[in-house]
Symmetry: C2
């Protein structure tokens, strides 16, 4: 049995030895490099651009400006195509723009022999702008008479609302206590190790090959086609190993441009790679949210109402646009399915870098607001925060009040109990003085989350798997599921080993996706991969096993139903010790007998029409140095109900990485934008503070294993959830330690100083 | 309809623009090059080898000798694996040898940074030999007490015989006339433009990737595994475009060595390429045959008996070994199925370069002998050579007298009639003096052939196809069938277009085979590809069409049986003009509807259990300049029954290339070996004379289109047949012109001089 085992990643050796091939390892003879000319203002219009000096520079192959690109608007969001035009992504981009919408917008591109010449050429281009006043906040963009960042948009990307559990005003009116709050989350950036990079070339004059560090090769194929006005059958996308994405590579950023360039340059290979400084502004960021909220709560601890109003800042382009705020809202009703919720959200264009998908897709923003409010409710009625949550959160058997879909597995209450025990919640609270004084104080905090597994029913959920039995009895499997560092290849191998009875070492996963031949899957995002893929792989492995047993039956004269595959051998069900035959013997016969058999292969394309929420919570104990305005995490635990844990080692890795990122979002990270000019102060890893190994404590994690029946192997989402709850848990612990309630992120020393001063602690 | 149309090759643009990627275009960072140290004697044993000076040379990475290679004997012949051990290829090779068996045998290999250093290092290796007397001819190798070139072999690679049509001695005894002859064919070499080249590397430490210019990627995978003692699932073979093979790349030559080297060198990429001089000795040559024959013929023109005894020279290693002489024998009984035939053949080891597969695999050797004999028979009984052939050759409804399999299509008689008319056989013969005199004389010649389509039932015949419907309504098809210049990709595209109703431009063929993901097929040889692939492609395209119509039915509410696909649109069978829907709309719905459909793909692995002989003939008119001993071809026609012609343009190309090669074999080409030392005089294209464009006349070709029902599209073999009959036709024309009967090849000026002198013409 391979599922549930802490097996080593299938790509471990390739990665630690440096053999694993990334996009930058792809070389083509005659390859050119390209780089964008980025605007030096945040809002305006190019009056005049003179590229003549750049074009004359030896080694420059070509310079293209906004005047040279196809007049085709396209969307960059990595969503499956929607048949319903109303659900299609906003098409608001050209390959290059004359209307500059953020500091660093792409107005021209230079192609040259090497990076040095490109850089020199960029500096030789003269640009004259007509400048407009940048609209940096949603409030400014929504002000009456504000300049339209995209014509006809009123600066609104999207707006949505839902109401469940009855009339919200009535529910609030009946509540014993009504609370109100306003919460603000900041602009974060993904900061994956490998920056965006893509390469395109033409093997012939009819097909464009794009090699890219992407989470979504098949979607890249479609969007490149759309952006260039070419049928997607003429585009081939290859995805090698990638060095992180966290949602930022769920956007199609460089690929249409490199494809355009190779098309313009007679098929010559053209590579683009973004520097860290470019990537931090020129790709995507997390949408900052401002959330206004009211809660109604009964003295007995029942949360009766949540009235939520979120304003999301999409920045210069729609990218994932309003989908993020929409998805964010859904998390609340999965977490508190018995509460009346009114959710309204609006996403707005501004002149900051475009926001897109980032790990947990709006949930961190919304769950921060909700969990701050929940904490306040518990405290206001004098109830233990854990007890309050236990009373209100989702339980097995609850239904999503909007869709009516039941939660077939929910272990959130057990997660809370487990976390409480791990951190010794009751003992520590009992041992502590009622009100702490002195410079160094301790606090305990908790926060909960729910998270979807995939995007159904909002979007299509499709996965694909093809398995080939090799003549030596091993198998190769191709999946559309993309390995982006999360361990997807390893999980797929475990699934095949488990279901087909083949030793894990004999399951070879074709890691590189190649849209010409890889089964269709929309990619790695929405914590969907192991869930939606499980159904395709389970069906494929089951079908392959049946084919193998059928052939073994022909060879042995035993009915296939009496045979089984165990550890790579064919055995009789009724006598597993006897009459067994290695799988290789069956494979060899199937391939090489002159009449019977054939190459045994199976391919499955599966649409998943379910979505199972995962749940969990963070418990944290912090120490606050009040004079230094410093928070130190003493203990932190994330406890997850992600269904069956397929590989504890990989699961732990996901949790530790996610919690570390959550700590960064809670305490350190923020992209700083000048409110007047739109200039970005810290688009580099020196000034933008991501937590390092020195900042991250030992991270404890535990799993409450439920079994999710809609999944091939009982599993639910785990990739994104770990990032959600640490910031509110830390915030609640900070409140617990100091009595100071901070409703904005990040809780840096600067933020603490401001709030501690206001509260009279300093 | 796409079948039968002279459409442009799908790779035409890629090839003429230089974009098509060949093995040498594959580059890997840190790539090393390797080269063999070749023996400077033809037979002997290395007493001592000193590589120390070479190893010390800066830039040399490693030197390996026969002492360093795995002690695993392997076979190099590109045959499907045989489950029956008695039919497996002779395993007589190590990666490097101490026992030198031909002039140029591989005793060591140097790996270095570049070609210059490799060459320098090779010259620094000191070798001392113990020399044995080379056995250059089969007769010498078979002589009593001859040194065993391979221990325990008695210098015999294989021996076989068959007898059909009754007792041969009785048949000969009853014949009116009995003839006897002895025929000799020479050593030829393939002289494909692209020499052998292969590259290996490891992406991780568990899998070896081999990129190779090969006709047989899946077989390479198996043999590399066997040679290194690794399971084939850990070997991945990639086949890019190749620059010709003609059977010489149906042998596994460099691949096991490059795989061994990368394995030894921690996965570093290692490339080997052979120079022309190396390739002409170190790859394979055509087996020279000496054939002793008796024929029995009745005065009425009935050929009653053929008694054939062939001696085939395999050279230093078995390679394809006796299979060539075995296959050669089968051609006679397909051509003269109503004649008693006794066939005996023996294949012998000698100390010349190893012989292997070469276009038409023994048929040119055997058909030369048979057609010389047939010509003699016709002349002896005073019958027109065409009439004599017409009376005796295979007709539709004949059966293979050995296997009992009927010929379901046979248009040979029509081919003979057509050729006779094209060359104006009767008119020219009538207009000519009975006996020519003077220095310049004209002659007419004819020769016939039959050729199998594939290798069944001797070997496995398997093909595979996978088709993916793209979201834009185009398809990608992967086939195991390998494009080796013959146009296989184009034919496959035509088959899919024909059967699925998709415009040819929307059928994208994945040309590069990659054994990790490409459907299994044993490769391009035996003129099998279009025949065996036709069944897999037909089944796959038919199944895909059914899936498309099923989905279109769901979308439209019309029964799939009432729908049809025509030119990329879904139409109603009963009203083709109305209610049609583009295929792209169906594809888009199948991909993107949230519940129904899925990616529509089909995969078929098909075993072909039939073999349809193709037939045809060559007619030639030559002018002989007797004093100059020069033959000039005035007109030449090849007329083929290859079933349905799938693409007249490609078919014509095959015929013209094959006839040109046949002219080369008939008049120019021979590898010259010193009978004493085994030294090869002309392993280069200056001294080994292949015909150039100046030597080749306009080549006429015509097709008698029969329909072969065992084939998916009615087609039969065409790749190899064109080469077979030109040499005997020219020989017969030379006899006709001069009265001189030449029973050896090639008919160079030297040969003619010898025979003309003997005949008193000079």
């Amino acid at each position: 049995m391979a599922i549930g085992k802490a097996v080593r990643r299938v790509d471990a050796i390739a990665k630690v030895t440096g053999r694993a091939r990334y996009t930058d390892d792809y070389f083509r003879p005659g390859m050119l490099v390209a780089k964008y000319l980025r605007s030096t203002i945040a809002h305006g219009r190019v009056k005049k651009i003179d590229t003549r000096r750049a074009q004359r520079l030896p080694g420059v192959e070509a310079v293209f400006t906004y005047e040279d690109v196809p007049p085709i608007k396209f969307a960059t969001a990595g969503h499956p195509y929607a048949l319903d035009p109303a659900h299609q992504d906003v098409q608001d981009r050209l390959l290059l723009t004359r209307h500059v919408r953020y500091w660093g917008d792409e107005i021209a591109v230079v192609v040259a022999e090497n990076d040095l010449i490109v850089q020199e050429a960029l500096e030789l281009i003269d640009v004259a702008y007509e400048e407009y006043s940048p609209l940096v906040t949603p409030e400014a963009a929504l002000a009456a008479g504000a300049f339209e960042i995209h014509a006809g948009s009123n600066n609104v990307v999207g707006e949505s609302c839902y109401a469940v559990g009855g009339n919200i005003e009535e529910a609030l009116a009946q509540a014993d206590v009504v609370l109100e709050g306003r919460y603000r989350t900041q602009i974060c950036q993904h900061c994956h190790i490998e920056n965006h990079i893509a390469l395109a070339y033409m093997d012939d004059l009819e097909h464009i090959v794009v090699v890219s560090s992407t989470q979504i090769p098949h979607i890249v194929r479609r969007i490149v086609g759309q952006a260039l006005g070419l049928p997607c059958g003429r585009i081939r996308v290859v995805k090698p190993y990638i060095g992180g994405g966290f949602g930022n590579k769920q956007d199609v950023i460089l690929e249409p441009m490199v494809a355009f360039l190779t098309l313009q340059l007679g098929g010559r290979p053209v590579k683009m790679h973004l520097s860290r400084e470019e990537g931090m502004i020129g790709t995507r960021v997390r949408h900052p949210f401002t959330t206004q909220m009211r809660a109604g709560v009964m003295q007995n601890g029942t949360l009766v109402a949540l009235d939520i109003d979120a304003l999301s800042n999409s920045g210069a382009y729609a990218s994932h646009g309003h989908a993020v705020a929409g998805a964010a809202g859904a998390r609340s009703r999965a977490l508190y399915p018995r509460t009346a919720i009114n959710y309204h959200a609006k996403t707005v264009y501004t002149n900051i870098p475009a926001a897109g998908a980032m790990r947990a897709y709006g949930a961190p923003q919304m769950m921060f607001a909700v969990d701050c409010m929940i904490e306040e409710a518990a405290r206001r009625i004098g109830m233990d925060p854990v007890e309050f949550r236990l009373k209100n959160v989702a339980r097995q058997g609850d239904v999503d009040p909007l869709t009516g879909e039941g939660f077939e597995s929910c272990g959130l209450a057990e997660c809370l109990q487990r976390g409480k025990a791990l951190i010794q919640w009751d003992a520590k609270r009992a041992a502590r003085p009622r009100k702490q004084t002195g410079p160094v104080r301790r606090g305990l905090g908790v926060a909960c989350f729910s998270y979807a597994t995939g995007t159904y029913p909002v979007c299509l959920e499709i996965s694909g798997a093809r398995i080939i039995l090799n003549p030596d009895g091993s198998v190769h499997i191709q999946v559309g599921a993309t390995e982006i560092g999360q361990g997807s290849d390893t999980i797929v191998a475990q699934m095949v080993a488990e279901t087909a009875g083949i030793p894990l070492a004999n399951v070879h996963v074709v890691s590189t996706q190649d849209t010409d031949v890889t089964p269709f899957d929309t990619g790695a995002y929405a914590s969907r991969q192991a869930y939606v893929t499980s159904n395709a792989v389970f069906r494929a492995a089951t079908a392959l096993k049946a084919k193998i047993l059928e052939h073994a039956g022909r060879m042995s004269g035993i009915l296939p139903a009496e045979l089984e595959i165990t550890d790579g051998r064919i055995v009789r069900r009724d006598d597993r010790a006897r009459k067994n035959m290695p799988l290789a013997a069956v494979a060899l016969d199937a391939y090489y007998d002159k009449q019977r058999g054939g190459q045994l292969t199976v391919e499955v394309s599966h649409k998943t029409c379910s979505n199972a929420p995962a749940f969990g919570c963070t418990f944290v104990e912090i120490e606050v140095d009040v004079p230094l305005c410093r928070v130190q995490i003493k203990e932190i635990y994330n406890i997850h109900d992600s269904g069956i844990i397929l590989n504890p080692l990989l699961a732990q890795g996901q949790v530790q990485g996610g919690v570390a990122m959550g700590i960064g979002a809670g305490l350190y990270e923020e992209m700083l934008i000048d409110p007047e000019s739109g200039y970005i102060y810290n688009n580099n890893l020196l000034d933008y503070k991501v937590p390092t190994i020195m900042d991250v404590p030992d991270i404890g994690c535990a799993f409450v294993e439920t079994f999710e029946p809609t999944s091939g192997y009982g599993n639910k989402s785990l990739g994104e959830p770990p990032i959600i709850a640490p910031p509110p848990a830390i915030r609640n612990a900070l409140w617990d330690a100091t009595g100071v309630k901070i409703d904005e992120l990040p809780m840096t020393a600067h933020t603490l100083y401001k709030h501690f001063m206001k509260a009279g602690l300093l």
